[in-house]
């Protein structure tokens, strides 16, 4: 199928639901990018584009692979790949590590590059991924509180404090 806006092959098939009755759009990647990044009052544009792109990249997988990938949850924040595809937003910094294989083609598609070459922080210039343990621990602490396992919750709180101290975080 040809793109509705130019002569290239249409690889994005979008159903627009915002204008009253559903409207089918068949676009090539470039026109889809332009279309999806137009400011839209309902959906934040960047997120809409990323969601559609993630959807598209995931389509090339088999149904079982996709189903498995969709259920894969980040051990740190609990976000699933399905959530990400839906909302176009990641759940925590560790997602960039946990979903690196899935995100790499997406990032390459958006930026045409995969290596940062700008400013770096003075501390933690090799990365802050080990600090994401704190995200997981706070979540586990809350779960312990919710389950009325107060002893467990206080153990976790001590663990959080220890990590914060060793990392120089207040």
């Amino acid at each position: 199928m040809k793109c509705q806006q130019c002569d290239r092959q249409a690889t994005f098939h979008i159903t627009e639901l915002t204008g009253g009755k559903p409207q089918e759009l068949h676009l090539c990647e470039e026109c889809a990018r332009v279309y999806l990044t137009q400011p839209n009052e309902e959906a934040p544009s960047g997120a809409a584009f990323v969601g559609a792109l993630a959807q598209h990249l995931a389509v090339s997988q088999t149904a079982e692979e996709l189903a498995r990938l969709d259920r894969t949850a980040c051990p740190v924040c609990g976000v699933t790949f399905y959530d990400f595809r839906n909302q176009g937003r990641l759940g925590c910094p560790h997602d960039y590590v946990g979903f690196s294989k899935e995100l790499e083609p997406l990032i390459l598609n958006i930026h045409g590059e995969t290596e940062h070459c700008g400013k770096r922080p003075k501390r933690y210039d090799q990365g802050t991924d080990r600090l994401t343990d704190l995200i997981r621990l706070r979540r586990e602490m809350q779960e312990a509180v919710d389950a009325e396992q107060y002893e467990r919750a206080s153990e976790i709180r001590d663990e959080i404090k220890a990590i914060q101290q060793s990392a120089g975080l207040p």
Partner: protein, 371 residues
């Protein structure tokens, strides 16, 4: 900082803002006949908290508290004010959106969130928008380099007190992969009425999109630009240094200015009378209308603004017109009147305000001329 808790100042601050036009509409700075403002923003997230979509309400509160306290501390003496956006009335939030101090998304989302702004309205630090922190500096006219330097210094200072999520290969990590890397968005707002009249704007915008620059209209719904204002910004944030991204946007601006100037010259040369008529009619409607929508006001003010720049209207100045662009926005009008108004009443009030403002301006000018 004043000794009062910052949020107690907000009522005073907001009413103070209502009587000024804000940095980006000051109408000064290089190329300010065409370039309205230059804006730089950085997206940053704390390394040890989830991004907003997965943050619990306790997480959001913790992030807001940490960032607010550290930044207030860093900016002590700079007279910045913290506004607890979650506690503001919807009209006040809309007012801040119209002044570009917060985004529409920030105004309409839920949960703990805030913004720190300086009295000149150059700096705005949004907390818990799409990312934990958005550092923004806005300057009047074409002034990207200075705005970047200001943002960069702020970012360095804040980074001494907090740890931002960073990845060795991917750079600064953001909630949306479209901002990863530098987290930098470089934007320039341009007034391009002659390119619109001569129907060249579509061509220009298409060519910008080809070189990965994003274009959107100011206040526009969808892609329709209201008042012929267009915002040009970088789309790519990863794999290029901050100075490169600044250059990418900065290099294209003089070209656009040149196109717009040539289109204006063409109009003056080829259809001076039609142009003069169009501008004068626009001015006439603004001075006499009894009810007028926001869209029509923007449209007519755009013509008048170009008319002033081309010397076709002698008794108005650009900063005054810029002021009208913002003061005739819905939330600004309602703040001035002091209560909420339905659309029909707003349109009457807007026309009344325009008549008062523009007729006063010209009669004052005439009086001065006679002296």
């Amino acid at each position: 900082m004043s000794s009062k808790p910052p949020e107690e100042d907000f009522a005073a601050l907001l009413s103070g803002l209502a009587n000024t036009s804000g940095e980006w509409l000051r109408g000064s700075g290089p190329e300010s006949d065409i370039v309205i403002s230059s804006r730089i923003r950085l997206a940053r997230n704390l390394a040890d908290y989830p991004f907003i979509s997965q943050a619990s309400s306790a997480d959001r509160q913790a992030v807001a508290k940490i960032l607010r306290e550290r930044i207030v501390d860093i900016l002590a003496g700079k007279n910045v004010t913290y506004l607890d956006v979650a506690q503001l009335e919807s009209l006040d939030r809309q007012f801040l959106v119209e002044r570009q101090l917060i985004s529409r998304e920030h105004a309409e989302s839920e949960g703990a969130r805030g913004v720190l702004i300086d009295p000149q309205e150059q700096v705005s630090l949004m907390i818990n928008e799409e990312d934990h922190l958005r550092v923004q500096v806005m300057h009047s006219g074409l002034d990207l380099q200075k705005a970047w330097e200001q943002v960069n210094v702020l970012d360095d200072l804040i980074e001494e007190r907090v740890t931002f999520a960073f990845h060795d290969q991917l750079g600064y990590l953001t909630a949306c992969p479209t901002n990863v890397g530098t987290g930098l968005r470089v934007s320039v707002m341009l007034h391009l009425p002659a390119l619109v009249i001569t129907r060249q704007i579509e061509k220009v915008l298409r060519s910008l999109q080809k070189i990965s620059l994003a274009v959107r209209g100011l206040y526009g719904e969808g892609s329709q630009a209201m008042g012929d204002f267009y915002q040009i910004s970088n789309q790519i944030t990863l794999g290029r240094s901050e100075p490169d991204l600044l250059k990418q946007v900065g290099d294209v601006v003089p070209v656009l200015i040149d196109y717009e100037r040539r289109a204006r010259e063409f109009l003056v040369r080829e259809s001076q009378q039609v142009l003069h008529d169009r501008v004068s009619r626009a001015y006439g409607i603004l001075r006499t209308a009894q009810t007028i929508s926001s869209e029509e006001t923007m449209h007519l003010l755009s013509s008048v603004r170009m008319g002033v720049n081309l010397g076709l209207i002698g008794d108005l100045e650009i900063p005054k017109i810029n002021e009208l662009f913002i003061r005739t926005q819905p939330a600004h009008l309602q703040k001035m009147v002091g209560n909420e108004l339905e659309t029909a009443d707003r349109n009457i009030e807007r026309a009344r305000y325009l008549r008062l403002y523009l007729n006063r301006k010209s009669s004052e000018h005439d009086a001065e001329g006679q002296n």
